[in-house]
Protein backbone atom coordinates (compact mmCIF):
# COMPACT_ATOMS: atom_id res chain seq x y z
CA UNK A 1 0.00 0.00 0.00
CA UNK A 2 1.28 3.45 -0.85
CA UNK A 3 2.16 5.99 1.78
CA UNK A 4 -0.49 8.50 2.77
CA UNK A 5 -0.14 11.94 1.20
CA UNK A 6 2.28 14.18 3.11
CA UNK A 7 0.35 16.36 5.53
CA UNK A 8 0.38 20.12 5.40
CA UNK A 9 2.53 21.86 7.96
CA UNK A 10 0.86 24.32 10.31
CA UNK A 11 2.96 27.02 11.96
CA UNK A 12 1.92 29.69 14.44
CA UNK A 13 3.77 32.76 15.68
CA UNK A 14 2.82 35.80 17.75
CA UNK A 15 4.98 38.91 17.88
CA UNK A 16 4.25 41.81 20.24
CA UNK A 17 3.52 45.15 18.56
CA UNK A 18 2.86 48.72 19.66
CA UNK A 19 0.75 50.10 16.79
CA UNK A 20 -2.86 48.90 17.08
CA UNK A 21 -4.51 48.56 13.66
CA UNK A 22 -7.96 49.32 15.08
CA UNK A 23 -11.12 47.87 13.56
CA UNK A 24 -10.93 47.08 9.82
CA UNK A 25 -12.69 44.90 7.25
CA UNK A 26 -10.78 41.70 6.41
CA UNK A 27 -8.18 42.11 3.67
CA UNK A 28 -7.08 39.39 1.21
CA UNK A 29 -3.95 39.49 -0.96
CA UNK A 30 -2.58 36.87 -3.33
CA UNK A 31 -3.85 33.52 -4.59
CA UNK A 32 -2.95 29.96 -3.58
CA UNK A 33 -1.01 28.79 -6.61
CA UNK A 34 2.35 27.17 -7.24
CA UNK A 35 5.05 29.37 -5.71
CA UNK A 36 2.38 31.74 -4.43
CA UNK A 37 0.27 32.27 -1.32
CA UNK A 38 -2.78 34.06 0.00
CA UNK A 39 -2.67 36.35 3.01
CA UNK A 40 -5.78 37.22 5.03
CA UNK A 41 -5.60 40.07 7.56
CA UNK A 42 -8.27 40.33 10.23
CA UNK A 43 -8.70 42.57 13.26
CA UNK A 44 -8.23 40.97 16.65
CA UNK A 45 -8.36 42.13 20.27
CA UNK A 46 -4.89 40.81 21.10
CA UNK A 47 -1.95 43.19 21.66
CA UNK A 48 0.11 41.18 19.16
CA UNK A 49 0.40 40.39 15.47
CA UNK A 50 -0.48 36.70 15.22
CA UNK A 51 0.48 34.55 12.23
CA UNK A 52 -1.11 31.21 11.33
CA UNK A 53 0.57 29.57 8.37
CA UNK A 54 -0.60 26.49 6.50
CA UNK A 55 1.99 25.36 3.97
CA UNK A 56 2.62 22.45 1.62
CA UNK A 57 6.40 22.96 1.90
CA UNK A 58 7.41 21.25 5.14
CA UNK A 59 10.49 21.98 7.20
CA UNK A 60 10.92 25.72 6.64
CA UNK A 61 9.74 26.89 10.08
CA UNK A 62 12.90 28.84 10.88
CA UNK A 63 12.69 30.74 7.57
CA UNK A 64 9.02 31.58 8.14
CA UNK A 65 9.90 32.86 11.60
CA UNK A 66 12.64 35.08 10.14
CA UNK A 67 10.47 36.46 7.28
CA UNK A 68 7.43 37.12 9.50
CA UNK A 69 9.61 38.56 12.27
CA UNK A 70 11.21 40.93 9.75
CA UNK A 71 7.76 42.00 8.54
CA UNK A 72 6.67 42.69 12.12
CA UNK A 73 9.87 44.66 12.88
CA UNK A 74 8.99 46.97 9.99
CA UNK A 75 5.28 47.38 10.77
CA UNK A 76 5.09 46.82 14.55
CA UNK A 77 1.38 45.84 14.28
CA UNK A 78 -0.94 44.97 17.15
CA UNK A 79 -4.52 43.72 17.01
CA UNK A 80 -3.97 41.87 13.72
CA UNK A 81 -4.41 38.22 12.88
CA UNK A 82 -2.62 37.09 9.71
CA UNK A 83 -3.70 33.79 8.15
CA UNK A 84 -1.64 32.34 5.33
CA UNK A 85 -2.24 29.52 2.85
CA UNK A 86 1.07 28.81 1.13
CA UNK A 87 2.02 26.67 -1.86
CA UNK A 88 5.79 26.89 -1.74
CA UNK A 89 6.26 30.65 -2.14
CA UNK A 90 9.81 32.01 -1.78
CA UNK A 91 10.57 34.42 1.09
CA UNK A 92 10.55 37.35 -1.35
CA UNK A 93 7.03 36.51 -2.56
CA UNK A 94 5.84 36.06 1.04
CA UNK A 95 7.21 39.50 1.89
CA UNK A 96 5.57 41.03 -1.20
CA UNK A 97 2.11 39.61 -0.40
CA UNK A 98 2.35 40.75 3.22
CA UNK A 99 3.28 44.26 2.04
CA UNK A 100 0.37 44.26 -0.45
CA UNK A 101 -2.03 43.23 2.31
CA UNK A 102 -0.80 45.98 4.64
CA UNK A 103 -1.01 48.54 1.81
CA UNK A 104 -4.69 47.57 1.29
CA UNK A 105 -5.24 47.90 5.04
CA UNK A 106 -4.02 51.49 4.89
CA UNK A 107 -6.01 52.56 1.82
CA UNK A 108 -9.63 51.77 2.74
Amino acid sequence: MSNPAPALETLSYAFPGTKPAGPFAPVLAGVVGSGNLEVLLEASAEPVCRFDVQTSARGFGSIWEAVLGDFQRRHDLAGVRVSIHDMGATPAVVGLRLSQAVAQLRTP
Binding site: A5, L8, P26, V31, V32, G33, L40, S56, H85
Partner: protein, 306 residues
Protein backbone atom coordinates in the same frame (compact mmCIF):
# COMPACT_ATOMS: atom_id res chain seq x y z
CA UNK B 1 2.47 69.39 -16.53
CA UNK B 2 5.42 70.23 -18.81
CA UNK B 3 5.42 70.57 -22.56
CA UNK B 4 6.96 67.15 -23.25
CA UNK B 5 4.17 65.32 -21.48
CA UNK B 6 1.52 67.37 -23.24
CA UNK B 7 2.94 66.19 -26.61
CA UNK B 8 2.58 62.53 -25.78
CA UNK B 9 -0.31 60.79 -27.55
CA UNK B 10 -2.86 59.43 -25.09
CA UNK B 11 -2.24 55.72 -24.64
CA UNK B 12 -5.37 53.60 -24.46
CA UNK B 13 -5.72 52.58 -20.84
CA UNK B 14 -6.35 48.94 -21.61
CA UNK B 15 -6.22 46.48 -18.73
CA UNK B 16 -5.83 42.85 -19.74
CA UNK B 17 -8.75 40.72 -18.54
CA UNK B 18 -6.56 37.62 -18.82
CA UNK B 19 -3.92 39.08 -16.52
CA UNK B 20 -6.39 40.06 -13.78
CA UNK B 21 -7.22 37.85 -10.82
CA UNK B 22 -10.85 36.94 -10.22
CA UNK B 23 -11.19 39.65 -7.59
CA UNK B 24 -9.54 42.29 -9.79
CA UNK B 25 -12.05 41.44 -12.53
CA UNK B 26 -14.94 41.93 -10.11
CA UNK B 27 -13.51 45.25 -8.93
CA UNK B 28 -13.04 46.60 -12.47
CA UNK B 29 -15.96 45.07 -14.37
CA UNK B 30 -18.83 45.96 -12.04
CA UNK B 31 -19.96 49.44 -11.00
CA UNK B 32 -17.30 50.79 -8.63
CA UNK B 33 -17.53 49.62 -5.02
CA UNK B 34 -20.89 47.85 -5.50
CA UNK B 35 -19.74 44.24 -5.10
CA UNK B 36 -21.06 42.71 -1.89
CA UNK B 37 -19.55 39.29 -1.31
CA UNK B 38 -21.40 36.35 0.17
CA UNK B 39 -19.34 33.79 2.11
CA UNK B 40 -16.21 35.99 1.94
CA UNK B 41 -12.69 34.66 2.70
CA UNK B 42 -12.90 35.51 6.41
CA UNK B 43 -15.72 32.95 6.76
CA UNK B 44 -13.21 30.27 5.79
CA UNK B 45 -15.58 28.08 3.82
CA UNK B 46 -12.72 25.94 2.55
CA UNK B 47 -12.50 22.53 0.89
CA UNK B 48 -12.91 19.59 3.28
CA UNK B 49 -10.92 17.36 0.91
CA UNK B 50 -7.70 19.12 -0.06
CA UNK B 51 -5.92 19.09 3.32
CA UNK B 52 -6.23 15.28 3.45
CA UNK B 53 -4.23 15.18 0.22
CA UNK B 54 -1.58 17.57 1.51
CA UNK B 55 -2.79 20.39 -0.71
CA UNK B 56 -3.43 23.84 0.79
CA UNK B 57 -6.95 25.18 0.33
CA UNK B 58 -8.10 28.72 -0.45
CA UNK B 59 -10.22 30.81 1.92
CA UNK B 60 -12.86 31.19 -0.80
CA UNK B 61 -12.32 27.75 -2.41
CA UNK B 62 -11.40 29.49 -5.65
CA UNK B 63 -14.62 31.38 -6.33
CA UNK B 64 -16.04 34.70 -5.15
CA UNK B 65 -19.84 35.13 -5.25
CA UNK B 66 -22.08 38.06 -4.44
CA UNK B 67 -24.36 40.79 -5.69
CA UNK B 68 -23.43 44.05 -7.38
CA UNK B 69 -24.61 46.67 -9.83
CA UNK B 70 -23.78 46.73 -13.53
CA UNK B 71 -24.68 50.01 -15.27
CA UNK B 72 -27.02 50.55 -12.34
CA UNK B 73 -28.82 47.19 -12.66
CA UNK B 74 -28.76 44.66 -9.85
CA UNK B 75 -26.84 41.54 -10.87
CA UNK B 76 -25.58 38.45 -9.09
CA UNK B 77 -22.04 37.50 -9.99
CA UNK B 78 -19.50 34.71 -9.53
CA UNK B 79 -15.81 34.86 -10.45
CA UNK B 80 -13.62 31.76 -10.61
CA UNK B 81 -9.91 32.11 -9.77
CA UNK B 82 -7.91 30.25 -12.41
CA UNK B 83 -4.65 30.52 -10.47
CA UNK B 84 -6.06 28.31 -7.69
CA UNK B 85 -6.09 24.70 -8.95
CA UNK B 86 -6.86 25.87 -12.50
CA UNK B 87 -10.27 27.11 -11.35
CA UNK B 88 -11.27 23.50 -10.69
CA UNK B 89 -14.75 22.98 -9.26
CA UNK B 90 -14.66 21.24 -5.90
CA UNK B 91 -17.52 20.49 -3.54
CA UNK B 92 -17.59 23.89 -1.79
CA UNK B 93 -16.77 25.87 -4.94
CA UNK B 94 -19.68 24.19 -6.74
CA UNK B 95 -22.04 24.64 -3.80
CA UNK B 96 -21.30 28.38 -3.79
CA UNK B 97 -22.24 28.59 -7.49
CA UNK B 98 -25.41 26.56 -6.90
CA UNK B 99 -26.36 28.77 -3.95
CA UNK B 100 -25.90 31.88 -6.08
CA UNK B 101 -28.28 30.61 -8.78
CA UNK B 102 -30.85 29.44 -6.20
CA UNK B 103 -30.75 32.79 -4.47
CA UNK B 104 -31.31 34.42 -7.87
CA UNK B 105 -34.55 32.43 -8.15
CA UNK B 106 -35.70 34.01 -4.87
CA UNK B 107 -34.39 37.58 -5.29
CA UNK B 108 -34.75 37.89 -9.08
CA UNK B 109 -31.76 40.07 -10.08
CA UNK B 110 -31.61 41.42 -13.63
CA UNK B 111 -29.01 38.80 -14.55
CA UNK B 112 -26.43 36.37 -13.20
CA UNK B 113 -22.88 36.91 -14.48
CA UNK B 114 -20.43 34.04 -14.39
CA UNK B 115 -16.79 35.10 -14.86
CA UNK B 116 -15.70 31.59 -15.74
CA UNK B 117 -12.11 30.38 -15.63
CA UNK B 118 -11.89 26.68 -14.98
CA UNK B 119 -10.45 23.40 -16.16
CA UNK B 120 -13.67 21.74 -15.00
CA UNK B 121 -14.08 19.34 -12.11
CA UNK B 122 -11.30 19.51 -9.51
CA UNK B 123 -9.98 15.96 -9.82
CA UNK B 124 -8.83 15.90 -6.17
CA UNK B 125 -12.48 15.95 -5.18
CA UNK B 126 -13.60 13.45 -7.82
CA UNK B 127 -17.24 12.47 -7.33
CA UNK B 128 -18.05 15.45 -5.10
CA UNK B 129 -16.80 17.77 -7.85
CA UNK B 130 -18.71 15.93 -10.59
CA UNK B 131 -21.93 16.08 -8.60
CA UNK B 132 -21.28 19.75 -7.86
CA UNK B 133 -20.92 20.59 -11.57
CA UNK B 134 -24.13 18.74 -12.45
CA UNK B 135 -25.91 20.67 -9.69
CA UNK B 136 -24.56 23.93 -11.11
CA UNK B 137 -26.04 23.05 -14.53
CA UNK B 138 -29.42 22.27 -12.98
CA UNK B 139 -29.41 25.49 -10.93
CA UNK B 140 -28.36 27.58 -13.97
CA UNK B 141 -31.15 26.12 -16.10
CA UNK B 142 -33.68 26.71 -13.29
CA UNK B 143 -32.64 30.38 -13.22
CA UNK B 144 -33.02 30.64 -16.99
CA UNK B 145 -36.40 28.90 -16.90
CA UNK B 146 -37.49 31.55 -14.38
CA UNK B 147 -36.58 34.27 -16.90
CA UNK B 148 -33.28 35.41 -15.38
CA UNK B 149 -30.54 35.99 -17.96
CA UNK B 150 -27.33 34.03 -17.35
CA UNK B 151 -24.25 35.59 -18.95
CA UNK B 152 -20.86 33.86 -19.08
CA UNK B 153 -17.60 35.78 -19.62
CA UNK B 154 -14.54 33.80 -20.72
CA UNK B 155 -11.12 35.43 -21.03
CA UNK B 156 -8.81 33.91 -18.42
CA UNK B 157 -5.57 32.12 -19.23
CA UNK B 158 -6.99 28.77 -18.09
CA UNK B 159 -9.99 28.98 -20.43
CA UNK B 160 -13.28 27.24 -19.69
CA UNK B 161 -13.14 23.46 -20.05
CA UNK B 162 -14.70 20.21 -18.94
CA UNK B 163 -17.88 20.48 -16.91
CA UNK B 164 -17.60 24.27 -16.85
CA UNK B 165 -17.51 24.25 -20.66
CA UNK B 166 -20.90 22.53 -20.57
CA UNK B 167 -22.14 24.96 -17.90
CA UNK B 168 -21.13 27.87 -20.15
CA UNK B 169 -23.05 26.47 -23.11
CA UNK B 170 -26.15 26.15 -20.90
CA UNK B 171 -26.20 29.95 -20.47
CA UNK B 172 -28.14 32.59 -22.41
CA UNK B 173 -25.11 34.48 -23.63
CA UNK B 174 -21.34 33.98 -23.87
CA UNK B 175 -18.74 36.72 -24.22
CA UNK B 176 -15.17 35.69 -25.10
CA UNK B 177 -11.88 37.35 -25.90
CA UNK B 178 -9.40 36.15 -28.49
CA UNK B 179 -7.30 34.82 -25.59
CA UNK B 180 -10.24 32.94 -24.05
CA UNK B 181 -10.81 29.28 -24.78
CA UNK B 182 -13.97 27.18 -24.53
CA UNK B 183 -14.23 23.42 -25.00
CA UNK B 184 -15.21 20.17 -23.36
CA UNK B 185 -12.09 17.97 -23.22
CA UNK B 186 -8.90 19.97 -22.84
CA UNK B 187 -6.00 19.58 -25.32
CA UNK B 188 -3.92 17.36 -23.01
CA UNK B 189 -6.90 15.10 -22.36
CA UNK B 190 -7.57 14.61 -26.07
CA UNK B 191 -3.90 13.90 -26.78
CA UNK B 192 -3.68 11.45 -23.87
CA UNK B 193 -6.74 9.50 -24.93
CA UNK B 194 -6.49 9.66 -28.75
CA UNK B 195 -2.80 10.18 -29.43
CA UNK B 196 -0.67 13.05 -30.67
CA UNK B 197 -1.73 12.38 -34.29
CA UNK B 198 -5.29 13.27 -33.30
CA UNK B 199 -4.32 16.39 -31.38
CA UNK B 200 -0.93 17.87 -30.52
CA UNK B 201 -1.53 19.67 -27.23
CA UNK B 202 1.90 21.33 -27.42
CA UNK B 203 0.92 23.12 -30.64
CA UNK B 204 -0.40 26.26 -28.98
CA UNK B 205 -1.51 27.88 -32.25
CA UNK B 206 -3.59 24.78 -33.03
CA UNK B 207 -5.07 24.77 -29.52
CA UNK B 208 -6.17 28.40 -29.82
CA UNK B 209 -7.41 27.92 -33.42
CA UNK B 210 -9.84 25.17 -32.40
CA UNK B 211 -10.83 26.27 -28.88
CA UNK B 212 -10.19 30.05 -28.90
CA UNK B 213 -12.73 32.85 -28.88
CA UNK B 214 -12.21 33.59 -32.58
CA UNK B 215 -13.38 30.13 -33.65
CA UNK B 216 -16.15 29.96 -31.06
CA UNK B 217 -17.47 33.29 -32.32
CA UNK B 218 -17.40 32.33 -36.00
CA UNK B 219 -19.19 29.01 -35.51
CA UNK B 220 -21.81 30.57 -33.25
CA UNK B 221 -20.76 29.05 -29.91
CA UNK B 222 -20.19 32.47 -28.39
CA UNK B 223 -22.25 35.59 -28.87
CA UNK B 224 -19.75 38.42 -28.55
CA UNK B 225 -16.03 38.53 -29.31
CA UNK B 226 -14.12 41.30 -27.53
CA UNK B 227 -10.54 42.46 -27.05
CA UNK B 228 -8.61 41.23 -24.00
CA UNK B 229 -9.66 44.31 -22.06
CA UNK B 230 -11.68 44.50 -18.84
CA UNK B 231 -13.58 47.58 -20.10
CA UNK B 232 -14.55 45.70 -23.29
CA UNK B 233 -15.87 42.79 -21.20
CA UNK B 234 -17.84 45.26 -19.08
CA UNK B 235 -19.42 46.88 -22.15
CA UNK B 236 -20.27 43.45 -23.58
CA UNK B 237 -21.81 42.33 -20.27
CA UNK B 238 -24.01 45.44 -20.22
CA UNK B 239 -25.19 44.70 -23.78
CA UNK B 240 -25.88 41.10 -22.71
CA UNK B 241 -28.23 42.14 -19.90
CA UNK B 242 -31.00 42.02 -22.50
CA UNK B 243 -29.95 38.66 -23.92
CA UNK B 244 -32.40 36.36 -22.14
CA UNK B 245 -33.37 33.48 -24.42
CA UNK B 246 -36.51 31.52 -23.55
CA UNK B 247 -35.68 27.98 -22.51
CA UNK B 248 -38.17 26.12 -24.69
CA UNK B 249 -38.36 22.82 -26.52
CA UNK B 250 -38.45 24.48 -30.00
CA UNK B 251 -35.33 26.53 -29.11
CA UNK B 252 -33.55 23.36 -28.00
CA UNK B 253 -34.62 21.52 -31.16
CA UNK B 254 -33.35 24.39 -33.32
CA UNK B 255 -30.00 24.22 -31.58
CA UNK B 256 -29.79 20.45 -32.04
CA UNK B 257 -30.60 20.86 -35.73
CA UNK B 258 -27.84 23.46 -36.08
CA UNK B 259 -25.33 21.20 -34.36
CA UNK B 260 -26.40 18.29 -36.54
CA UNK B 261 -25.87 20.36 -39.69
CA UNK B 262 -22.47 21.43 -38.42
CA UNK B 263 -21.46 17.84 -37.74
CA UNK B 264 -22.73 16.74 -41.16
CA UNK B 265 -21.04 19.55 -43.09
CA UNK B 266 -17.78 19.79 -41.20
CA UNK B 267 -17.50 16.84 -38.83
CA UNK B 268 -14.30 15.58 -40.45
CA UNK B 269 -12.53 18.94 -40.59
CA UNK B 270 -9.05 18.65 -39.10
CA UNK B 271 -8.59 22.30 -38.19
CA UNK B 272 -10.71 25.38 -37.57
CA UNK B 273 -10.10 27.22 -40.89
CA UNK B 274 -11.00 24.00 -42.76
CA UNK B 275 -14.24 23.88 -40.79
CA UNK B 276 -15.00 27.50 -41.69
CA UNK B 277 -14.51 26.67 -45.38
CA UNK B 278 -16.92 23.75 -45.18
CA UNK B 279 -19.49 25.83 -43.31
CA UNK B 280 -19.18 28.67 -45.81
CA UNK B 281 -18.11 31.27 -43.25
CA UNK B 282 -15.00 33.41 -42.88
CA UNK B 283 -13.78 32.53 -46.38
CA UNK B 284 -11.13 35.24 -46.14
CA UNK B 285 -7.87 33.29 -45.90
CA UNK B 286 -6.56 35.92 -43.51
CA UNK B 287 -9.37 35.12 -41.03
CA UNK B 288 -7.10 33.37 -38.51
CA UNK B 289 -4.93 36.50 -38.35
CA UNK B 290 -7.52 39.30 -38.61
CA UNK B 291 -7.87 41.78 -35.79
CA UNK B 292 -10.87 41.26 -33.55
CA UNK B 293 -12.77 44.27 -34.93
CA UNK B 294 -12.18 43.05 -38.52
CA UNK B 295 -13.27 39.52 -37.65
CA UNK B 296 -16.52 40.83 -36.20
CA UNK B 297 -17.44 42.14 -39.65
CA UNK B 298 -17.31 38.66 -41.21
CA UNK B 299 -20.28 36.41 -41.81
CA UNK B 300 -20.72 33.79 -39.14
CA UNK B 301 -23.10 31.01 -38.17
CA UNK B 302 -26.49 32.40 -37.26
CA UNK B 303 -25.70 35.92 -38.46
CA UNK B 304 -24.98 37.50 -41.86
CA UNK B 305 -21.92 39.69 -42.49
CA UNK B 306 -22.10 43.24 -41.16
Amino acid sequence: MNGMNAMKPALPSRISYAECSARERLARLLDADTFHEWLPPAQRLTSPHLAQLGVPGAFDDGVAIGCARLAGHEVFVAAQEGAFMGGGVGEVHGAKLVGLFRRALRDRPRAVLLLAESGGVRLHEANAGLIAVSEVMRALLDARAAGIAVIVLIGGANGCFGGMGIVARCADHIVMSDAGRLAMSGPEVIEASHGVEEFDARDRALVWRVTGGRHRYLVGDCDQLVEDDVAAFRDAAIVALDSHRPLTLPALQDEHALLQRRLHDAGDAIDAPVMWQRLGIAQDERAPDLAVHELRALERIGEPAR
